[in-house]
Symmetry: C2
Subunit: 468 residues, 2 copies
């Protein structure tokens, strides 16, 4: 039986983590056995529920416990299904991925203030439903594998859209992917080997950072600024570590919402040229941007830039249709990798996306989506400032605001309490190269219209967190 010492200098969370880990390693808690529920444990040991949540979370992250939805926490079976060797060799960064999964599972909470997608009714469900009906009525062949690079008419449409943005692209340079995530994953697998040092936005896109950690990369965080990058730090990282690739999101970045200026893009390209660096430009928010801007890809004309896009933020993430565009030779390599990791993408979904985009009401939908986001930005920025939050940037477009509050030293504790109020926040550490505790949080303006969010935040800011 675990005995906690409430007056010890060791935090209660650490006492629980260390105590249970020791019991598991000693075999006192056997593999596969179920732990007491969070509430039960809290009651037995007279500690707060938040303390137990935090402790169980850490034990999962450490690989001692597994969490099974709707059934609870169990002692992990280390020796099974894969053999002891396979378990012992779980790649670094695997367990931290669990946090991301947890965030994802919180998507059922009523108020998704920190999430990374748009509400269904902001997307183009009508257009999607019309395209579905057309596809069902269409007598086109639905058998067979599609083209390895993806449905050719959609690739043509994407090439046409780039032409409007000062970038001449041949449809053979367009590779369709299962959302932008597969595009990023292909780039990671093609360009990054275990042990490589890789430049990333810091803070940056959480899922990419986890993917790079899984690949065994060393992350070199390039500090993000409201104008783009800390260019001095960038140059220093390049000179010191000689990285070969920089994954970045210049436009309406997740999580900061910031937009890199053309001068910053030019300087990044200059450094990349000098040091032989490939740039992977995540530009999935291009259609949420009311302004036509140069991109790394348009400045460089795809000499050393791979650019990535998606329809998840404008039609529906449910379709999983994204794309990447690059130099012809690079596209051939990535197309081969795509075949290895799943043969073709679903031509089905690609036909749907093509139907939606070419049906005529697409541009009008984009315009109204941008207007709606612009208004939400104004309202939410005002509300957060009113509560005393500091805003990193005020892009007035896209989905995100990055904010912190002097009364909140660590966003994780606040996020855990928010879950109890049916609110999903976006704690900032998930987006950091070193996953260190941080007061910063990501807000998705499209999900910040509910008064209960501000009531919760106001309440928490008045009564500072009780730390165990």
């Amino acid at each position: 039986m675990l005995r906690l010492q409430p007056h010890s200098a060791v935090p209660l969370v650490s006492q629980i983590v260390d105590g249970l880990a020791a019991q598991i390693e000693a075999g006192a808690l056997i593999a596969g056995s179920k732990l007491p529920s969070i509430r039960q444990f809290a009651q037995n040991h007279q500690v707060s529920v938040f303390t137990v949540v935090e402790a169980y979370d850490r034990l999962v992250a450490q690989g001692h416990l597994v969490s099974r939805p709707h059934s609870g926490f169990f002692v992990r079976r280390r020796a099974e299904a894969g053999g002891a060797q396979a378990s012992a060799r779980r790649p670094q960064g695997f367990d931290t991925m669990w946090y991301l999964r947890k965030i994802f599972e919180n998507r059922h909470l009523a108020i998704k203030a920190g999430c990374g997608w748009l509400p269904g009714d902001w997307l183009f469900e009508d257009g999607l439903r019309r395209a579905l009906r057309h596809l069902a009525a269409d007598e086109a062949d639905l058998g067979g594998y599609g083209d390895p690079k993806g449905y050719p008419p959609l690739r043509q449409t994407i090439a046409d859209a780039f032409a409007e943005k000062d970038l001449a692209v041949h449809p053979e340079q367009v590779l369709l992917t299962q959302g932008s995530s597969q595009a990023l994953d292909l780039a990671v697998r093609r360009l990054v080997h275990a042990g490589d040092a890789v430049l990333v936005d810091d803070p940056g896109y959480a899922n990419l950072l986890f993917s790079l950690r899984f690949q065994g990369a060393t992350l070199l965080g390039v500090p993000r600024t409201p104008q783009g990058y800390d260019l001095v730090a960038l140059e220093k990282l390049i000179v010191t570590h000689q990285p070969k690739v920089f994954f970045t999101q210049p436009r309406l970045q997740s999580p900061t919402g910031s937009v890199a200026t053309p001068a910053h893009l030019h300087r990044v390209l200059q450094l990349a040229d000098q040091h032989g660096i490939t740039l992977v430009e995540n530009d999935i928010y291009v259609n949420l941007d009311p302004v036509l801007r140069p991109t790394l890809a348009s400045l460089d004309q795809l000499n050393r830039v791979i650019t990535i896009g998606s329809y998840s933020k404008t039609i529906s993430p449910n379709m999983r249709v994204g794309y990447l565009v690059a130099h012809p030779d690079m596209v051939e390599d990535l197309a081969q990798l795509k075949m290895i990791s799943g043969l073709t993408s679903a031509e089905f979904s690609e036909r749907l996306a093509h139907g939606v985009i070419t049906e005529g009401r697409w541009r009008k939908h984009l315009k109204s989506l941008r207007d709606r986001l612009g208004e939400a930005h104004q309202t939410v920025a005002e509300r957060l400032r009113g509560l005393g939050f500091e805003l990193f940037a005020e892009p007035g477009a896209g989905m995100f605001l990055w904010a912190r509050h002097p009364a909140v030293p660590d966003a994780v504790a606040l996020s855990n309490r928010a879950v109890e109020h049916d609110i999903m926040l976006g704690p900032g550490h998930l987006f950091l190269a070193d996953l260190a505790p941080t007061p910063w949080m990501r807000f998705n303006v499209a999900f910040c219209g509910d008064e209960r969010l501000y009531a919760f935040l106001a309440g928490q800011l008045q009564a500072p967190a009780q730390f165990d």
Copy 2:
């Protein structure tokens, strides 16, 4: 200008390959420049078209040339898009992947005797179209990301189907994937590290072998027999190399069509238990099998088996819906990997698959598909034997026959000639662990109904190939 010496002891193909490679490396042929067409080159140098096809193929495999569909062969730009370093570090086995791609591109040939899928009109296009119409009419939410493990009702349906096959599976143990290819890829990434020795069927599923090579694995080919495996060779490989994983397809295997007996499965499991080996069972042809058989998964009850399935062979490959089922802890790991490499799968396609399977006519479709394949097996086996082919196994079910002919020493030359007759063959080397030349070929009985195939084969067997 390249000068060929027709009377040299060096084969013409090698003269062309070495000559062009030297010109490219010396810069006489500059990066990005287009080569003469195959016919043009053959005419200029007075050699056969097949000689040039073979030479260009090898130069592509070596990374000197790239082939662009509908436009021709070009000198590869080594230094671009990724930098010289990235190019120099292309993982081993990358170039051989090109062969697979070429096979895939031959899917537009009229007679696809060697391909790995079923004709559209053998699949369940009617059911798919009905499910599409229902989905379009349904007022269900089409926004949002689906569940990371996939659409829950489909996971329940899959669990129910396993229950009928003596395997109790909880829906949380079912992970939906983008076709069986993503399931295999996840298993590869979770279980195999560069340098690992891995057991595979030999011959085996070509795409898996390429994926393992890309991952940097050393392939240990377990010789396939009509009854399953060369068990003596298997044990010897295990004792010598201590592999930790065996990727195998016991049932109606691609390419041989063979089915492993229950006694063989039992012995494989026994060896796996003794030596701590994880078994990845590719069982994508389960629904094409008229016989209810034990599987590795059902014998072992998912203790050390990951089993993989798909709807590509029964509904349509175009949807890209597959699944894997494993021990709960293993499924959690693979679900995290799935999120890394593409977030969720397309719930969209998963809803469609669920609609098709539960609509009532599904079992009738499967029955008629199996009957049709059974009849085709009988006819095609007779025709091939009549031409003097030796058959490796006669499963009477599934899609494949594995055959060789005493007059054909290497299936590649025959396959290249077949392309000129609008016929896609399945040359055997693609399926071998060592990619060595072989007389064996894969025939897909569903695509072997055309008289022109037999006319072509008969003609080739009478007049032996002219080798340069």
